[in-house]
Amino acid sequence: MTGVLAALFGAAAIATLTTGAVAVPPLEALAVVARKAGLGALGEPGRQAEAVVWGIRMPRLLTACTVGAGLAATGAVLQGMLRNEMADPQLLGIGPGAGIGAVIGSAAGGVQGAIAGGIVSGVVTGFVVRRLGSRVTIDRTRLILSGVALGAALSAWVGFLVFAADRSRVPPIEFWLLGSLSGSTWRSFGTAAVMIGAGALVLLGTSRSLDLMSLGHSEARHLGVDTDLVATIVLIAVGIVVGATVGAVGVVAFVGLLVPYWIRRLVGPAHRRLMGVSALGGAVLLVLSDLVARLTLEPVEIPVGLVTSALGGPLFLWLISRTRDV
C-alpha cells in the first residue's frame, strides 16, 4: 500500500519538476536536485533549468507535500475524534476561520504574517466548533451542518477583509477561498513546514487516545482517557496545522475528507498508522491536483482547490446519502 503511494508520489514529483512553461528533461531536473541537495554531481544542468527547478518548482512541490500531508492527517484525526467520516477541517469551518487571521496577517506581514494569523484564528475557530459540537453531540450530522454554515459565514468575512485590504499586499480572494500553490517560496515553505510538522507530531502523540475514543467518548473516559484534554490538544494542534496551510496556500477543500476516507479502508482504524499513511496520501493527492491545476488550461493556472473540490464534492454527497443518524 505505502509502496503504491510512494511510486505514485515519485511519478507526480518528477512530473511537477519537469513539466510546465519551461520543459526540463527528467535527468537534468534530477541533476539540479542532486547538486542543490549536496548529493553529488550528476551532470551539468543549465542555469535556466536550475532557476526553474530549484527556485520555483521545488518549493512548490514541497509545499504541496506538507500542506497535503497536514490536511489529510488533520482530517483523519478529526474524523476519529468526532466519530464522523464527514469531518474535514475545511467543512467544519476551521479552514475559513483560519483564513480571517491569515488575511489580516498577510496585510501586516506577508506570508509569514499570514501563517501566524492563520494559526491564531484557526485555533480560535477550532474551539468555536467544539462548543457547537458539545451542544449537538446527540446528532452528529448537525455538527457538520453547523460547520458548513460557520464556514460559509467565515468565508464571507474572508472575502470582505480581502476587498477591504490593500490589493497590492494581500493576494486576491480566489487564492484564499480556493487555494493556490503558485506563490510558494522556500521561505513560505520553511515556515509552514515547521508549524505543520510541530502540529502533526502533537497529533501523532494523541493517536492511542483517539483509538480508545472511537469506542465512544464515555467509554474512553471509563478506560482512563481524559477526553476533554485530548479534544483540547487536538483542536489546538489542528488549528496550528490548518492555520499554517491556509496562511501558505489558502483554503484547499476536501483533502482532509477524501484521503482518510480511502486510507481508513486500506489500513484500518488505528490512528497512528492511519495518520501516517493519510499524510502520505495527502501529499500525493495535492501534488497530483496541483499538476492538474497547472496543466489543464495551460498557460492559465486554475486554483488547486477547484481540483480537490471536483474530486471531493461527489464523495461528500455520497457520504451524506448513506448516513443514517445513530
Binding site: R83, R208, D211, L212, S214, L215, G216, S218, E219, R221, H222, L223, G224, V225, D226, T227, R264, G268, P269, A270, V326
Partner: protein, 259 residues
C-alpha cells in the same frame, strides 16, 4: 478486607429545579453483587454514573477504594472501576480483539504491568466470555449479543476491583442474560465488587446479594432481595400490583406481575 470498596453517603444530584438523585447511601464490599433497581426515571443510571465518577454529586460523598472520587483523575479512576454502559456505540471499525485490548489501557504505565500480563488478561477475558473466535472480526459486524460479550470482555480485561454494569442484560436474550449475570457473579466471587443497574427484578433477586430500590431519586429500601422485594413496596413504587412468591427451585424471591 472489610473496608468497603464503595462507600456513598447522602449522594445527591440536582440539575436545574430537578433532583435526580436525592440523598442516597450505598456501600459495597469485595465479593458482593449489589443491584440498583427501580422504575424508569428513578435515577438508577444517574446514580451509577455518580458512583463511577462520571459526574460530580451536588451534595454527599462517594469513596472508591477509600479515596474520594472527586480526588481521582480520569486515569486513576480507570484503575479502580470499570464500567459497562447500557448502550455503547456499535459502529466501531476495530476488531473485537483490539477492543478487548483497549481494556488494558489503564495499566499501560504501571510499573508492575507487562506485555505478558496484558496478553494474559486479554486472553482470559475473551475465554471467559467465549469471544476468542470473534477476535479477528470487526466489532461493527458482530451481532448485538456478540458485541455485548466483547464489551464485557473489555471490562474484565480492565481488572478493576469495582465493576459497574448499567443494565448489562438489556440487549440480550434469556441465555445471554444468564451468561452475563453468571459472569458478574463470578467476578464478585473472585473478590471484586459488582454494582449493577438492573431492570429485571427476578434476575436481580437471584444474582445479587443486596438490592437498592430507588424511586424518584430516593432510596426506598435496601437489603437482601427477600427484604427489599415486598409486594406492598413494589406496588407503591411501580404503581403496578405485584406478587412476590418463593422461587420454585432457586433460593430467592420471585416477582410476578398482577394479583
Amino acid at each position: 478486607m472489610s473496608e468497603p470498596l464503595l462507600e456513598a453517603a447522602g449522594v445527591t444530584y440536582r440539575i436545574g429545579a430537578g433532583t435526580l438523585v436525592d440523598g442516597v447511601d450505598l456501600s459495597g464490599e469485595a465479593g458482593e453483587v449489589v443491584a440498583i433497581i427501580g422504575p424508569n426515571g428513578a435515577g438508577k443510571s444517574t446514580l451509577l454514573r455518580l458512583l463511577a465518577g462520571d459526574m460530580r454529586a451536588t451534595a454527599g460523598s462517594v469513596h472508591l477504594a477509600g479515596a474520594p472520587v472527586d480526588s481521582l483523575s480520569v486515569a486513576e479512576l480507570a484503575v479502580v472501576r470499570s464500567f459497562l454502559a447500557d448502550r455503547e456505540p456499535d459502529a466501531i471499525a476495530f476488531r473485537a480483539g483490539a477492543v478487548v485490548e483497549m481494556g488494558r489501557y489503564p495499566h499501560r504505565r504501571r510499573p508492575e504491568n507487562s506485555g505478558e500480563a496484558d496478553a494474559t488478561a486479554v486472553r482470559e477475558a475473551m475465554l471467559r466470555t467465549d469471544t476468542l473466535d470473534l477476535a479477528d472480526r470487526v466489532f461493527a459486524t458482530l451481532s448485538r449479543g456478540e458485541r455485548a460479550r466483547v464489551a464485557l470482555a473489555r471490562v474484565i480485561a480492565q481488572q478493576a476491583p469495582v465493576v459497574m454494569l448499567d443494565e448489562p442484560t438489556g440487549a440480550l436474550d434469556m441465555a445471554g442474560q444468564e451468561r452475563m449475570l453468571t459472569e458478574a457473579r463470578r467476578l464478585a466471587s473472585e473478590g471484586r465488587l459488582v454494582v449493577a443497574v438492573m431492570h429485571d427484578l427476578n434476575a436481580a433477586a437471584y444474582y445479587s446479594d443486596r438490592l437498592l430500590l430507588l424511586s424518584n431519586g430516593r432510596s426506598v429500601a435496601t437489603g437482601t432481595p427477600s427484604q427489599v422485594l415486598d409486594s406492598e413496596t413494589l406496588r407503591a413504587v411501580y404503581g403496578q400490583s405485584m406478587r412476590v412468591i418463593d422461587h420454585p427451585y432457586r433460593h430467592c424471591p420471585l416477582v410476578l406481575v398482577g394479583e
